[in-house]
Amino acid sequence: MSYIALWRKALHKIGGHFGGGVQSYFMFLRFLVVLNFLSFLLIAGFIFIPSIVFRSTSNSNMTVDSTGPEACRVYDPNLQGLVVFYQYFLDLLSGTGFMEYSYMFYGYYNNTVAESSGFHYNLPLAYLLTSVFYFAFCLICIIARMGSALRIAVATGSGAAGSYSKMVFTGWDYGCQGYRATKLKQKSIHYQLQVDLEEERLQKKALSLTLGQTVGLCSLRIFLMLVSLALIGGAFFGIFQATVFSQAKVGAEGILGLFWVYLPSIVITNRNFVVPFMCDQIALFERYSPSTTIIMALFRSVFLRMISLGVLLFTLWSQITCFKESKDCQLCQYNNKEYPLGETRVGQEMYKLALFDFLITIAMLILVEFPRRLFVDHCSCALTRWVGRQEFLVPPNVLGLVYGQTVVWTGALFCPLLPLINTLKFFILFYCKKVTLFSNCRPAVKTFRSTTSTIFFLVVLLFGWGLALVAMIYSLAQIHPSMSCGPFRSLTMMWSIVPKTFYTLSLTTQDFIFYMGSQAFSIPLFIFSCVVLCYVAALAAVYGKSVDLLKAQLKLVSDGWGEKSYMT
């Protein structure tokens, strides 16, 4: 991919000063910037630009109105003429007003089917297929990147033989100049040696445990894992109750009203701080090796954050489609009084989440990290020595990135320009984080290996992708699209555009596709793909064996060479 040239010098500088772990965070950020940009190009090419073209030619006979009840088709996006000047700013922050009925959100796109002199473009179908392909494209990129990282990890082998002597004999960089850089390097070498030695000690101890002790340790770990799961479950129950309570209290005025509206966010934020802290305390008792502890902490936090997002989505959808079978939904199969255009509403929520995430990160930078550095540098009391400079912790930052990306994935179906916004957001974030890293942070004492950490970041990103995929499938297959506007206004289900267009194809094409779906074709295809799978698995096994063989040969050569010199 051509992103290799972007920010290469900056990454090199970061890696030299702060080590491989921090560098892998920035490389991950760069990967996300490129992924979002390519997705935006995809969406722009197939949805955005045709939509602009069709709107500007404005053939009103191209749009098909829905056939539902009159009341359901009413949509007034409240385009006022003159508004108070700060209304624009508020609208920009929350996606309402002038932003609501614009290319940003689902509601503005028409279900035009353009036909002119042999050129046929079905916009709703393009909208749907592009969204589906966008997910597939992201999955392919993530897996390709994971594959290349895995290849490096397998070839070098984490903790390969000879690593201690290599680290000690070749670990020092003689080009390292300056007192601070030297101290940094020394600290990182020190920590790396300590971590490796401790892992080796723990491994030896684990091997030497008796059966009774092993059983005891395992049961302790299972118990603590259940405790942490219970904590997380309790957190979600709390969030759910808060959301329901907040919805019940909607309409209250004043400060108290504002409090009720923001109650779910407050509860979520609190949980995001409290539960990981308690999980860290639990981790102290589990007595895993240091690198495993970091990985477990990362997975727990991911679980927590992703499912907070899932709960939010679930509550939104249950409001729009009235899970509780209230009479609001009987007319149009969705709650058209409060949500005349539910999809836009979901898109707005996702847009708000992405924007607030960005604003809070910037605010933390300006209001917390810079003052902390000034405070620590200029006062020299015992408090500043205890607090110390900010440490750049990689796992929480990575979680922030994965969370932001998941929000974009869930929202992309309803807010097609969200990948573009995310590209800009991550682009600016790179520079902001770099500035804060070099001015405010001391290097983290706890580092982890960069090859395995890249793989874990991508695995965590896949969790987010999975959640977004579930949300998208549910939206496509279950939700009744709004009848007032949007590209799917005349359909009962978003996915039904595909069968509808399918039957307009020529008969031979239909027969061909039916044949591909029939058993006569799919069973041989299935058998063929099993054969390919077995071949690839066998190939992987052979490569693994040859890597082991080469490693053994290397050892043998050194021993044999030693024999020769011993004999001479």
Binding site: V168, F169, Q177, Y179, S558, W561
Partner: protein, 187 residues
């Protein structure tokens, strides 16, 4: 030697170019920096004392700076003072174009703290202390040091004599591709 503070004779320049891995620009720059180290009273001295050499920015914070001066010094008094030719030897060994054998040879001599031709446990301990920092809170604990030294000897001591000799050292170095680029000092 006959070098003045301002000019390096052309025949010496070409001779140095042939004998070392340095380019003409690098030799001229080295001459300029070396002359700056000589203060006004020592104009007729040809040796720069070790303290002055250690004031160079490239060497000032290097944990191996004293060993580097000792290794490249040709002084009879073993005080680490360098002549200009010693200085050029130093820069040549640490230059971009020096070969792996030269670099590993000099690295071995730098790490050999007691100058006995092999790296034994004492040398390795001093080496690790240089790498992690000399102060008490940056050193490894004695148990960790013991464990580390036994691991190193197990991995690299092939003839099992308890020390790492030059060939075993070069064998470890040859498996590390980054060594040539990290064993580099450029003015």
């Amino acid at each position: 030697m006959g070098t003045t503070a301002s000019q390096l004779r052309k025949d010496l320049l070409s001779e140095y170019q042939e004998l070392t891995f340095l380019t003409k620009q690098e030799i001229l720059l080295a001459h300029k920096r070396f002359s700056e180290l000589l203060s006004k009273e020592d104009r007729n001295l040809t040796r720069v004392p070790m303290e002055k050499v250690l004031s160079l920015t490239e060497l000032k914070s290097n944990p191996f700076r004293k060993r580097i001066c000792h290794v490249f010094s040709t002084s009879d008094m073993k005080d680490g003072s360098l002549t200009f030719e010693d200085f050029l030897d130093l820069l040549s060994a640490f230059s971009d174009s020096a070969t792996l054998e030269i670099k590993s040879h000099y690295a071995f001599r730098i790490f050999d703290f007691d100058d006995d031709g092999t790296l034994d446990g004492g040398d390795l301990e001093k080496l690790v202390n240089c790498l992690t920092g000399e102060t008490d809170d940056t050193r490894l604990t004695p148990e960790e040091m013991r464990q580390l030294i036994s691991n190193i000897l197990e991995e690299s001591d092939i003839d099992k004599d308890g020390t790492v000799n030059l060939s075993e050292f070069q064998h470890v170095i040859s498996r590390s591709p980054d060594f040539v680029s990290s064993f580099k000092i450029v003015l």
